[in-house]
């Protein structure tokens, strides 16, 4: 057997392969889910366990190891809290509570830890989520790079948004400009951040966006994700694969800030593979797509756009981009270490 490389953690094709071969395959199928719920039989943003006939507990866990831990637009605390909440939301849940596990390196400054905790609490306060438990450990100097935060998020859902349910004709909506988090982290790490830079992470909880839409349109939302590692390319490829559809998106419609575009072009980065931490991608029924878009706009997500649609059902999962000159290319699952340790 080989060794784990950074590419295996980039959220791209290698990670999918590793998880499938090393982990998912080893777990007996009865162990993968709780009867009536959702588990790793179908990996989604979160898992679910039925409480009664109408409701589920939604639960998610994630570890955060971003470097640098303070970046333009946020820090590891804000990232962990927002990411956890967003994962619950993307399965259709209303986030209720969270638990956190913090591991720090010996010598870590108390003041910095305090700041990070404040960030976590600020996010939870803004969306009324309780922090009901956690754990704290210290590793000897040099055995950990500063800090790792693991979080568990809990929520309640009446209806689960499972991404394999995309249907032909569904419209794909993106709630805001993409690739902002990935670019901000990359720029600050490589010291490419200019003083007056507009490159900032978009990290934020999407509660104000998602809850009203889920409440109103519930079953008309067929897929929802926040395109973190692997970006829009990974999210849409996962959807296409799990729903056996072909998704066609229009490059011109995808919201992206000029500063992000320029930065990617300068460094040869593909913005479609870069992470967002405050963007939702939805696959919704055609009839309600315009309404949902309007609702997003009036909720303050003024750059939301319908970027494409689900075409054929019979294909084995394909994402096609209509390019800026009207040609077509396949949008691949990202490969390699796109930008390591972004979240």
């Amino acid at each position: 057997m080989g060794r784990i490389t950074l590419a295996h953690g980039s959220g791209g094709r290698e990670m999918n392969q590793l998880l499938e071969e090393l982990i998912f395959r080893k777990i007996p199928s009865w162990m993968k889910f709780v009867e009536g719920g959702l588990g790793i039989d179908f990996p989604d943003d979160a898992a679910a366990i039925p409480i009664d006939k109408e409701r589920y507990i939604v639960v998610t866990t994630d570890s955060y190891t971003v470097s640098p831990i303070f970046f333009p637009g946020g820090d590891i605390g804000r990232l962990a809290a927002s990411g956890t909440i967003n994962d619950v939301l993307m399965l259709g849940g209303v986030p209720i509570a969270a638990l956190d596990s913090i591991v720090v390196e010996e010598g870590f400054e108390e003041e910095v830890l305090e700041k990070i905790l404040e960030s976590i609490l600020t996010v939870f306060e803004s969306v009324d989520v309780k922090l009901i438990g956690g754990d704290f450990k210290v590793m000897p100097k040099g055995q950990l790079d500063k800090i790792i935060i693991s979080m568990v998020g809990l929520g309640i859902a009446e209806h689960l948004i499972i991404d394999k349910n995309l249907e032909v004709g569904d419209k794909i909506i993106v709630s805001g400009p993409i690739a902002e988090h990935g670019v901000a982290i990359y720029a600050s790490r490589e010291e490419l951040m200019l003083e007056d830079s507009q490159l900032r992470s978009d990290v934020k909880p999407l509660t104000d966006l998602m809850i009203p839409i889920v409440k109103k349109y519930g079953r008309d939302i067929h897929a929802a994700s926040d395109p973190t590692r692997g970006g829009l390319a990974m999210t849409l490829n996962n959807w296409a694969l799990s729903s056996n559809t072909t998704i066609v998106i229009d490059e011109e419609k995808i919201p992206m800030r000029e500063a992000v575009k320029n930065f990617c072009e300068m460094l040869g980065l593909d913005p479609f593979t870069l992470a967002s931490e405050g963007v939702a991608v939805l696959g919704v029924a055609d009839e309600v797509s315009e309404e949902i878009l309007q609702q997003m706009h009036s909720a303050g997500y003024s750059e939301a756009e319908i970027i494409g649609e689900v075409r054929a059902k019979e294909d084995m999962g394909l994402v096609i981009v209509k390019t800026s000159i009207g040609g077509y290319r396949i949008l691949e699952q990202p490969v390699g270490e796109i930008v390591p340790r972004i979240c």
Binding site: E258, N262, S324, G326, G327, Y328
Partner: protein
């Protein structure tokens, strides 16, 4: 006055994000192609000689909007892909002997055929203690080498575009004493000649824009004069490439074969005369090996006799690769030689995206972002999507 960013945006709006214009040119191409059909020309094969042209073609999906009888193929357009394995083996050896090897990032993972101490590329050499430094430019390497006394070589891979800087540094006499070059410079027009002679019919050529800023339009005259092939030196935006294709079809229809510069924003007929002169003062043209292909006459640079002390191979007792000693230098099953010459497409190679991926490249064309396989791996649509 326009500032740089305004110019950039204007440039992109015209040459890149311009569906309306693209559609118009495609209509012209369709008409020309129909007219050619009526004249009995049923297929047109157009070859590019630059990785960036292949990237533009693939990334913007040009193949998907052109008539089906127009075939766009990639020729030898990536200097990393065609660097003979021998030079990588030498670089790996030197790095393991403690000589610092400077390389551009795109050659860092370039695999050799033969292992040296069980490693096959500079990345692996570094992981077992080899001295390898990735640099962005020759000047960075020179600066770095000046910091200490350690002996170092620069892996000078490149086409005509990169060679003026080597010549300039040597002529200005600012090469540090502990610094030498592994010279793997290659010339594109002789490779183009080779490709059209050996591969079979090519009806039009999209000649490389960057290379031509140095060598000028005149360097491609032989394609039109000796082979009767319409040749257009093209810019790198999708609109540039579409215009070039239309021009080629027009020439075929009118029975002409001229060299036309589409990329007038950067390329002139005589090229950069000063740069050419500097190259000539320092380097001489020789027969040279191309990976997976073999020796092509007059297709390489080597240092002139008076600069031999800057030749890393000479300095460390390695022989220059000779035609007699060159042996086929692709790993078993790798079909990069055919891909480089446009004989087959990456998807025709059974290793493509199986044993050979951008993360673990098996063949040279999967390494550099200019390599045809690497480009196709990033968006499979080298082939048509409708």
């Amino acid at each position: 006055m326009l500032n740089r960013s305004d110019l950039r945006i204007a440039n992109n709006r015209f040459f890149r994000n311009n569906r309306e214009l693209a559609l118009k040119i495609v209509k012209i191409i369709e008409t020309l192609s129909k007219n050619l059909n009526r004249k009995g020309v049923d297929r047109v094969k157009i070859m590019n000689f630059c990785g960036t042209h292949e990237w533009t073609t693939t990334h913007y999906g040009l193949r998907s909007i052109l008539p089906e009888n127009i075939e766009l193929v990639a020729g030898p357009g990536c200097p990393v892909c065609i660097t003979p394995s021998y030079y990588i083996e030498v670089a790996v050896k030197l790095s393991l002997e403690g000589i610092r090897v400077y390389t551009y990032g795109d050659a860092y993972k370039l695999p050799a055929v033969k292992s040296v101490k069980e490693v096959k590329n500079l990345a692996e050499a570094r992981s077992i203690g080899g001295e390898v430094s990735i640099v962005y430019s020759l000047l960075d390497a020179v600066k770095d080498a000046k910091k200490d006394e350690r002996e170092s070589v620069f892996l000078a891979i490149g086409f005509e575009t990169t060679y003026p800087i080597y010549a300039s540094i040597i002529l200005r006499n600012i090469v540090p004493r502990n610094f030498s070059f592994i010279v793997v410079g290659r010339l594109t027009p002789p490779a183009a000649r080779y490709a059209v002679e050996k591969v079979g019919r090519v009806d039009g050529i999209i000649a490389p824009g960057h290379v031509s800023t140095v060598i000028g339009g005149e360097a491609w005259k032989m394609l039109s004069e000796d082979y009767g092939i319409p040749t257009v030196i093209s810019g790198f935006e999708p609109i540039d490439v579409l215009i070039s294709i239309a021009e080629i079809l027009k020439q075929i229809y009118e029975g002409r074969s001229d060299v036309v510069i589409e990329y007038t924003r950067a390329v002139s007929w005589h090229g950069n005369v000063l740069a050419k002169k500097m190259i000539e003062e320092v380097f001489e043209v020789c027969d040279a090996a191309w990976r997976g292909i073999g020796f092509i006459p007059n297709s390489g640079y080597r240092l002139r006799r008076e600069y031999l002390k800057l030749d890393g191979l000479h300095l460390y007792g390695f022989k220059e690769l000779s035609e007699r000693e060159w042996s086929y230098d692709l790993s078993i099953g790798c079909r990069c030689g055919e891909i480089i010459l446009g004989k087959i497409k990456p998807v025709d190679c059974p290793l493509f995206l199986n044993k050979c991926t951008p993360n673990v490249p098996y063949g040279p064309c999967m390494v550099s972002s200019e390599g045809t396989c690497s480009i196709w791996a990033r968006s499979r649509t080298g082939w048509r999507v409708k």
